[in-house]
Symmetry: C2
Subunit: 256 residues, 2 copies
């Protein structure tokens, strides 16, 4: 098993931000500063074409650290941020840009490429979680959530379906094609975000993915607006969702 290697550390606005690697995968861990007591962990994925420190990521992480007192970890997806692209990555990204320039639908390419990324990313997330749970301020038996929209939903749905340590998840803004089957194996509480006037994802497709989750407790938040108009206040909804679901069973802190 790989362990967490910390490579840099800053503190800003009461939040400790530590860059790390696990088996060569670069990540960042946001924590309450100073970190002393054990706290739940939220795994947070970034969207397609961005990376672990894209402004929305520290923004959402700070809301969760401040609002819940939890840790938040994000790693670069394959081919993203500080990670090399394979020839297949280059080919799919070129196909996506061609479709955009031609005004053709992005959906078929995004669905296909994200499914491939998910196959590579799921084991990386599991190794990262193994390593993070080795830190005394997280621990092996603490609550774990997952938070990711767009490409991070394409990765997070199969991850959550495969990973019993994840007990609550926020997803959204994706097609059901490759995800309806793993969603049907997810039974933990889910909050799902959808844009009512999404120009890429047909409304019926977004609703079908929400419908596919087997969770007894699931909530859809659908907002008026286009794909990129997903409102910022939904990051607060996500933080409150995690506060509700990850705090109940926090184990007593280990002797440390």
């Amino acid at each position: 098993m790989h362990s967490v290697q910390f490579t840099a550390e800053t503190t800003s606005g009461g939040v400790l931000e530590r860059d790390f690697t696990v088996g060569g995968i670069p990540g960042v861990l946001w924590s309450p500063a100073p970190t002393s007591e054990r706290a739940p962990l939220v795994l947070m994925g970034h969207g397609g074409g961005t990376h672990k420190k894209w402004p929305a990521m520290p923004g959402r992480a700070h809301r969760i650290v401040h609002g819940c007192g939890f840790h938040v970890a994000c790693i670069d997806a394959p081919g993203h941020g500080g990670r090399p692209r394979t020839p297949y990555d280059e080919q799919e990204i070129a196909a996506l840009y061609r479709a955009r320039e031609a005004g053709e639908p992005e959906g078929p390419i995004v669905v296909r490429y994200n499914a491939d990324l998910a196959e590579r990313a799921v084991p990386e997330w599991q190794a990262t979680l193994d390593a993070l749970q080795g830190l005394p301020e997280i621990g092996a038996d603490g609550p774990v959530g997952y938070y990711g929209l767009n490409m991070a939903t394409a990765i997070g749905v199969p991850l959550t379906a495969a990973e019993p340590r994840i007990t609550a998840a926020v997803f959204g803004l994706h097609w059901p094609d490759a995800l309806a089957a793993p969603a049907g194996r997810i039974t933990v509480p889910v909050q799902f975000h959808l844009q009512w006037d999404d120009e890429h994802i047909p409304r019926e497709a977004g609703l079908a993915l929400f419908d596919a989750f087997a969770s007894a407790e699931k909530t859809l938040h659908a907002n008026a607006g286009r794909h990129k108009e997903h409102p910022r206040f939904e990051a607060d909804s996500a933080a409150r969702f995690f506060a509700r679901h990850l705090t109940r069973s926090v184990p007593a802190p280990a002797v440390n």
Copy 2:
């Protein structure tokens, strides 16, 4: 214009509860205790077959008073609580019970009866709002919201469409039949609650009513579960929605 006649007053858990009448219509006003500064007002409707002090009403009111520092007012709908039933009320209520006993759909009766109740209730709400705005702790130009599910949506949608003083509204759990047209005239921010597995209101019907609002800012909260399983945490969502939309433009308190 009628004025507010207070008839009883209690204080519990930091909330002042005052019974009142306006032109013979009985209501209740919940306020932060002690009430000193001017604060926004939320008009809250009760569901069919219940009344202004049905447990959900003071429960939701306390969340708004505590969470936002606002006033909350609820009045008994026609034929409900302390108000007499007309022969037409008796006839429709009997028809509803017959449909329930026979296992027939309630929808057609509820839609028809609630539309009639709304015609009677809208002017009553307007007179109540006129009178409440005469109180120094509310005032004539403060922000006003509306919050009501089920029958209170059937009343609240035409009320909000007709009433420019209402600048934010929470609705839900109703059919679109009589409401899609007035919803199409509503442009203020709306939060809409729907039960994903509602045994009375078909999913497509609930989604169609959400779709009908002309508001640029509208959010659907759809939760897994049947009609009566609407989760309690959505009362907190409503309180946060009102905090976001009714606090920005609070006028300076009058000299008092």
